[in-house]
C-alpha cells in the first residue's frame, strides 16, 4: 500500500478528501452514532436468549429480506465486484451471477425447513436427530471457521478503504482502524444482540442501495442511458477492446485458470445456503412463509444491486484510466469510490468530493453491518452449540448462556482485530471465496442430508463436516493463494501443490461423498423417530408458532 502516495490520481483524490475530511469523518461519525443509538434501543429489549439470538423472532418478511441483503452485500460485493468488472470486464460480472443464483438453493431447499426445525443456530438443525455433543461441536467449529475467514476479508477491506479516504498509510494508523471496527462490532453485538444487528443491517441496506442507485444514475446520465454506448466506451477506454466485453480476461488465460473458474462458480452457487451468518437470519421471522418472503425480497434487492454493479464497474472502466483504478489498490477495490468522485465532477469539484465521501461512508457502513452479523453467528454458535449443549450438556440456564454469548463476542472480536491487523494486506477476494468454499463443502452437504435423507447418521454428519472443512482449508493452504503464486500471502516461498485457487471443485464433492460414505458405513441405526419429527416439522411448521416474546 506504500505505492499509494505516488499515484497522481490518488493524490488528486487525496487532496480532494483532505479538503473535505471533516465531511467524511462527519458522515462516518453520523452513521456510527445512529447505529449505536439503535443498538442501545435494541439492547433494552433484549432480555431472553430468543431475543439475543433471534431478535425475538418477530421481524416481518420484508424487514428480514432487507437485513439479509444488508448482511450479504458485503464490501467484497460492493467494492470487489465493481472493481473486478472495472479491471477484467465481463469476468468480474461472472462473480455476481454466482452470488445471486445461489439464493435459489436457499429458497427452494434450506430457508423454510431450517426455520421450521431449528431455533438459534445451524447446529440446531444438524444435530436434531444426531448425537448432540459431537455434531454440535462440529457445527460450531465449522461456523466459527467460516465466519472468521469472512471476517478477515471485511477487516482487510476496511483497511483499504480508510487508507484511501483519510490518507492513513502508516501501519499504526491502519491497525487503529481495524481495532475501531472491531470494538464497534463488539459493542453492536454484545449490547444489541440480533435485534440491534438486524436494524443496523437494514439501515445499511437502504444506504447502500440509495448510494449505488445515485452513482448508477449519474453514470448512465453521462451516456444518455444507452448501455451499449457505455459498454463501448468501457471496452475502448480499458485498452482491451472487444475482449473486455467477453469472458476470458481473468479466467480464460490457461486451462488451469478455466478449471479455477469452474471451481469458483460451484463454490459461489453452493456456498450461500451454508453460510452460518445467513442461516441464522431465517430464525428472526416467525414462520416458514415469512422466511420464504424474506428470501424473495433478498433476491429482488440483491439482484437489483448486482445489476447496478454492472453499470458501476463498466462505468469505472469507461470513465477512469486502468492506471487510476489500480493505483490505490491492485485488485481494483477502490474503483467504486473513485468513480463516484469522477461522476461528481472530478477531484477538484466539491460535488465530486461529497459523492466520494458519501460512497465511502456507505462502504464503511457495509463493513460494520457485515462484521456484526458474522460475529453474532460465531458467538451464538459458541454459546448455544458448544457452551450450552457440549460443555454444560444442555444444563446451562438462559442467563449463563447469554453471558457466554456476550463473552464469546468479546473474545471473537479481539481475535479478529488481531488477525485483521495481520491480514490487512491479504488478498480479500481469495478469503471470501474460501469462506464460500468451506461453507459449501462442510455445511451444505450436512444440511441437505439432515433434512432430506433418512439414512443419514451421526458418523455421516461428522465425516461431511470435518471432511469438507479440513479438505477445503488444507487445499487452500497448499494453493497459489498462500504460496507460489503472483498474489500469494507469502512471498518468496513456494510450498503449493494444489493448482487451483479455489478448492470447491474437489472439496464440495468430497463433502457430499463423505457424508454418504460415513452414513452407510456406520454401525449406528439412524433415529427414525427423530427423523419423523424433523421431517414433519420441517414441512408443516408444527411447534414453531411459539417462538415469541417472553
Amino acid at each position: 500500500m506504500s505505492s499509494l502516495a505516488t499515484a497522481p490520481a490518488l493524490l488528486a483524490a487525496g487532496n480532494a478528501t483532505a479538503e473535505h475530511r471533516p465531511l467524511i469523518i462527519g458522515l462516518f461519525g453520523a452513521f456510527v452514532v445512529a447505529t449505536l443509538a439503535i443498538t442501545v434501543w435494541a439492547g433494552r429489549q433484549t432480555r431472553s436468549a430468543a431475543d439475543f439470538y433471534a431478535g425475538g423472532g418477530q421481524f416481518t418478511g420484508f424487514q428480514n429480506g432487507l437485513a439479509i441483503s444488508g448482511d450479504y452485500m458485503s464490501a467484497a460485493s460492493f467494492l470487489g465486484i465493481s472493481g473486478a468488472i472495472a479491471l477484467y470486464g465481463y469476468d468480474g460480472f461472472l462473480y455476481s451471477i454466482g452470488f445471486l443464483v445461489a439464493w435459489l438453493v436457499a429458497l427452494l431447499l434450506v430457508a423454510e425447513p431450517l426455520r421450521n426445525s431449528g431455533r438459534f443456530t445451524m447446529g440446531d438443525v444438524l444435530a436434531y436427530r444426531m448425537r448432540q455433543r459431537p455434531v454440535r461441536t462440529a457445527a460450531g467449529t465449522s461456523t466459527i471457521v467460516v465466519s472468521i475467514f469472512y471476517l478477515l476479508a471485511q477487516m482487510a477491506g476496511a483497511g483499504v478503504l480508510v487508507s484511501l479516504l483519510l490518507g492513513i498509510t502508516s501501519d499504526g494508523g491502519k491497525v487503529a482502524i481495524v481495532a475501531l471496527v472491531g470494538v464497534l462490532m463488539i459493542v453492536y453485538v454484545t449490547i444489541g444482540g440480533m435485534k440491534g444487528t438486524t436494524w443496523v443491517q437494514m439501515v445499511k441496506a437502504v444506504l447502500l442501495i440509495a448510494g449505488t442507485l445515485l452513482i448508477t444514475f449519474l453514470i448512465l446520465l453521462k451516456f444518455d442511458f444507452n448501455l451499449s454506448d457505455l459498454l463501448g466506451a468501457a471496452a475502448t477506454h480499458s485498452g482491451k477492446g472487444d475482449a473486455f466485453l467477453e469472458p476470458g480476461l481473468k479466467y480464460g488465460l490457461t486451462e488451469t485458470s478455466k478449471l479455477d473458474f469452474l471451481s469458483l462458480g460451484i463454490a459461489l452457487v453452493l456456498g450461500t445456503a451454508g453460510l452460518p451468518h445467513i442461516l441464522i437470519r431465517f430464525y428472526t421471522v416467525p414462520t416458514a412463509k415469512a422466511a420464504r418472503k424474506s428470501v424473495n425480497w433478498a433476491i429482488g434487492i440483491i439482484g437489483a444491486f448486482y445489476l447496478m454493479t454492472i453499470v458501476l464497474g463498466f462505468g469505472a472502466a469507461a470513465l477512469l484510466s486502468p492506471e487510476t483504478i489500480t493505483s490505490s489498490n491492485k485488485a481494483g477495490n477502490t474503483a467504486a469510490p473513485l468513480t463516484a468522485l469522477e461522476v461528481g465532477g472530478g477531484a477538484d469539484s466539491t460535488a465530486g468530493a461529497i459523492l466520494l465521501a458519501v460512497i465511502s461512508a456507505v462502504a464503511f457502513a457495509t463493513i460494520l453491518a457485515v462484521v456484526a452479523g458474522l460475529t453474532l453467528a460465531s458467538s451464538s454458535s459458541f454459546a448455544h452449540d458448544i457452551y450450552a449443549n457440549v460443555i454444560k450438556r444442555g444444563k446451562a440456564t438462559e442467563k449463563q448462556e447469554m453471558r457466554a454469548a456476550r463473552w464469546s463476542t468479546v473474545f471473537i472480536g479481539i481475535v479478529s482485530i488481531a488477525l485483521g491487523a495481520l491480514a490487512r494486506d491479504l488478498n480479500v477476494a481469495g478469503l471470501v471465496a474460501l469462506a464460500f468454499a468451506v461453507a459449501a463443502s462442510a455445511n451444505l452437504p450436512t444440511i441437505l442430508y439432515s433434512l432430506f435423507w433418512k439414512r443419514f447418521t451421526t458418523q455421516g454428519a461428522l465425516w461431511s463436516i470435518y471432511g469438507g472443512l479440513v479438505s477445503s482449508v488444507v487445499l487452500v493452504l497448499f494453493s497459489p493463494v498462500v504460496s507460489g503464486g503472483p498474489a500469494s500471502m507469502f512471498k518468496g516461498v513456494d510450498f503449493h501443490w494444489f493448482p487451483l485457487e479455489n478448492p470447491g471443485l474437489v472439496s464440495i464433492p468430497l463433502g457430499f461423498l463423505l457424508g454418504w460414505l460415513g452414513s452407510i458405513l456406520s454401525k449406528e441405526e439412524p433415529d427414525a423417530g427423530k427423523y419423523a419429527e424433523l421431517e414433519v416439522k420441517s414441512l408443516t411448521g408444527i411447534g414453531t408458532a411459539a417462538a415469541v416474546k417472553h
Binding site: I97, W103, L108, Y128, F261, G529, T540
Partner: protein, 124 residues
Amino acid sequence: MATEAPPPPREGAGTDSGPARPTTEEFVEVQRSEEFGELRRTYRSFAFPLTVAFITWYLLYVLLSNYAGGFMGTRLFGNINVALVLGLGQFATTFLIAWLYSRHAALRLDPKGEAIKARMEGDA
C-alpha cells in the same frame, strides 16, 4: 422475561409453551400417513427437479464462458453480445424461478401443511 428459565431441552427445537406438543409416536404416524406423503411428494417433485435444472443452466453458462468464447463474443446489437444477454438471462431465470416456487408453495404446499399442523396441534 426469563431470569431463571428451566434448562433448555436436549435438542434445539421445541421449547415452546404454546400449542400442545405431539409425541414422537404421533410424528411417526403422521410421517407415514397418506396426507403427509402427498405433501412431501408435492414439495419434492417441484423443488428437486427445479434445483437440478437451475444448477445445470448455471453450470452450462459457466462452461460456455470458459470454453465457448467465440460464441459468447458474438455481437447481437450495438455492443451487446451473447455473453451479456446470457448473463442477464441468469438474473431473469433466478427471478422467474423464485416467483414460480413461491406461487407453487402458496397454492399447493401451504394449505396441505397448515391442515396437518392444525390437526396435530389441535388433538395432541
